[in-house]
């Protein structure tokens, strides 16, 4: 029986390295929820790094999570390459206009410098501030876009999907370019203090492109990026699947240490993949954390922990970002389930 209470870093390190933690770790992708919970609006997080850092510290303290997150999913590399990013008042920014209008435009793009271009220096400041605030005992988790996603953002999703048929060589040239830029930013995040790099690729799932296209245009570039970031010192790579990946999970565990999954049954998924990766998830974010009650979230969280925790490679979490307007009591219900049932050895 584990007797000493682990720090969040020790706990995450244990599950990543196939050792038994003292209890099931708990992480929530808390960007917009955290900002709202702290009484602010999303756009303010891009003007005052301290405001965002404080929102994460409040989440860490109140919900007893095992890590803090940077301003997750900000398409900073894409914007630095020239794509137009818009900032809604109280929602995450989004690329509104791609930069590669003609395929020949790719040759005109210059590689980004994460330390000086666009919003990347700001986001790096946020990561430095988070690491300074939480110290070595708490992991800082920072988001870097994978090459295919950034390719879609700077070219436009629809256009890139057509390029796959019209000019596959161009797509591969684009992926090499985005690979270099996304990797450079990922390394800068690690240099700034990120412990775990998290990523997501909703435009490359089973609902979007074929397995053949995934193997040719998305997966190899992601793996090269993940390996480069691990070699640069990341303690883990977390991959948020986002959507249906049923026909490609066997591939997408390659180069990855954690899968933050949705739309899977943990009862089947954990026994199959826990030997390869830590599995994080998957209390339904919208249908339950946002729209449910503390009781309904508690019921689902108990189901998740019963299915996931016996693998000893499970992290309690929601299935996507915690929606901004979620009732904090619903999120607290997940924490309470971890408190009540999460200690190893398990005793449900």
């Amino acid at each position: 029986m584990a007797t000493k209470k682990m720090t969040p870093m020790e706990r995450m390190s244990a599950v990543l390295n196939k050792r038994q933690p003292d209890r099931v770790p708990f992480l929530i992708t808390s960007r917009e929820f955290g900002i709202r919970y702290s009484g602010h609006k999303h756009h303010e997080a891009y003007k005052n790094p301290q405001l965002y850092i404080e929102s994460q510290l409040k989440i860490l303290e109140d919900f007893e999570t095992d890590g803090v997150w940077d301003i997750w999913c900000t398409p900073a590399v894409d914007a630095a390459l020239g794509a137009k990013m818009e900032f809604p008042d109280d929602d995450p920014p989004w690329i509104h206009e791609p930069v590669i209008k003609e395929r020949s435009d790719l040759a005109k793009l210059k590689p980004v410098d994460p330390l000086t271009n666009g919003y990347m220096p700001y986001l790096l400041d946020v990561v430095r501030g988070l690491k300074k605030a939480v110290g070595p005992d708490v992991p800082v988790i920072a988001w870097a876009s994978p090459p295919f996603r950034t390719g879609c953002m700077i070219r436009g999703n629809t256009t890139l999907y057509l390029d796959i048929y019209d000019d596959p060589i161009f797509v591969k040239d684009l992926m090499e370019f985005t690979l270099a830029n996304c990797t450079a930013y990922g390394k800068a995040l690690i240099d700034a203090g990120a412990d775990i790099i998290t990523t997501s690729n909703p435009v490359a799932n089973y609902e979007c492109i074929s397995l053949d296209a995934f193997k040719e245009f998305a997966h190899p570039y992601s793996v090269r990026m993940f390996k480069a970031l691990k070699a640069h010192g990341a303690m883990g790579i977390n991959f948020h699947t986002c959507g249906n990946w049923d026909d490609r999970y066997d591939l997408c565990v390659e180069g990855v240490d954690m899968l933050h999954c949705d739309k899977v049954d943990l009862a089947d998924f954990c026994p199959k993949y826990a030997k390869d990766v830590v599995i994080m998830g998957n209390v339904r974010s919208v249908d339950n954390v946002l729209r449910g009650t503390p009781e309904s979230v508690r019921r689902e969280a108990i189901e998740c922990i019963k299915k996931g925790a016996p693998s000893m490679r499970y992290v309690m979490s929601n299935d996507c970002a915690v929606p901004r307007d979620s009732n904090p009591a619903n999120v607290m219900a997940m924490r309470d389930v971890v408190r009540e049932f999460g200690d190893y050895p398990l005793n449900f």
């Binding site: 809604p88 509104h96 629809t158 057509l162 609902e207 492109i209 074929s210 249908d287």
Partner: protein
């Protein structure tokens, strides 16, 4: 007929540059433009649509077929207007206020056009009053609303309510979709139907514009599943 089969094959395989000549060839046999549209162009896209439902084709495959279909529709359009063939329906599409995501919505627009609807895509961050103004301008039958964010999906409800407040709710049918939207949510906010993907949206749009629709909520995914079965 061989000309129609050839045309359907070209659409199915996305050979957009060869489609206009194949349409001309079919017309030269004396076939009515509407038959060329339905039994040539739409028949080809329908094959890809069925594959998409079975997840044997994906967004790129649908896009190249839809592009090929559009190349043919561009040739036929003046002839169809001359022959007074009416569109299946008129749809105003948009991502609701506060949301800037449009990939799914664009795909729905492409597919609806391919299915014979006239589509007016208002783009992203569409305010309720902009939806209503466009509906009035083009005399639309349908409004398709999309959202990717759990926050902005609440503006599906706001939009429907705005139409109700302005006495226009009963003049159009609302389709609700987007990643965080569930059939239960769509029904709860008073939409007429829900679809999780572009193909289901087409089945839903067809159902909602049929004269026999009884006013009950329709889950477009179930319509598609039924048809596939």
């Amino acid at each position: 007929m061989a000309a129609l089969k050839h045309l359907a094959d070209l659409v199915e395989t996305g050979k957009n540059q060869e489609v206009p000549a194949a349409v001309d060839a079919a017309l030269k046999t004396g076939m009515p433009p509407y038959d060329v549209l339905i039994n040539g162009l739409q028949a080809g896209l329908a094959v890809v649509g069925e594959r998409f439902k079975r997840q044997a084709a994906f967004i790129p495959e649908v896009l190249i077929s839809a592009r090929a279909m559009k190349a043919g529709v561009d040739v036929l359009k003046p002839l169809l207007v001359k022959a007074n063939n009416k569109p299946t329906g008129v749809c105003v599409l948009g991502t609701v206020q506060g949301d800037l995501h449009d990939i799914g919505q664009n795909l729905v627009g492409i597919m609806l056009e391919s299915a014979g609807f006239v589509v007016h895509n208002c783009g992203v961050n569409v305010r309720p009053e902009a939806f209503l103004a466009k509906v009035k301008e083009v005399n639309a039958d349908l409004v398709g609303m999309s959202a990717l964010l759990a926050t902005t999906m609440m503006n599906h409800k706001t939009t429907i309510q705005y139409f109700a407040d302005n006495g226009y709710r009963d003049k159009v049918r609302f389709m609700s979709g987007g990643a965080p939207v569930s059939p239960e949510f769509a029904q709860e906010i008073g939409a007429d139907g829900y679809a999780s993907n572009a193909l289901a949206a087409i089945e839903l749009a067809k159902k909602l514009t049929q004269s026999g629709w009884n006013g009950n909520f329709i889950n477009g995914d179930e319509v598609g599943a039924h048809m596939a079965a």
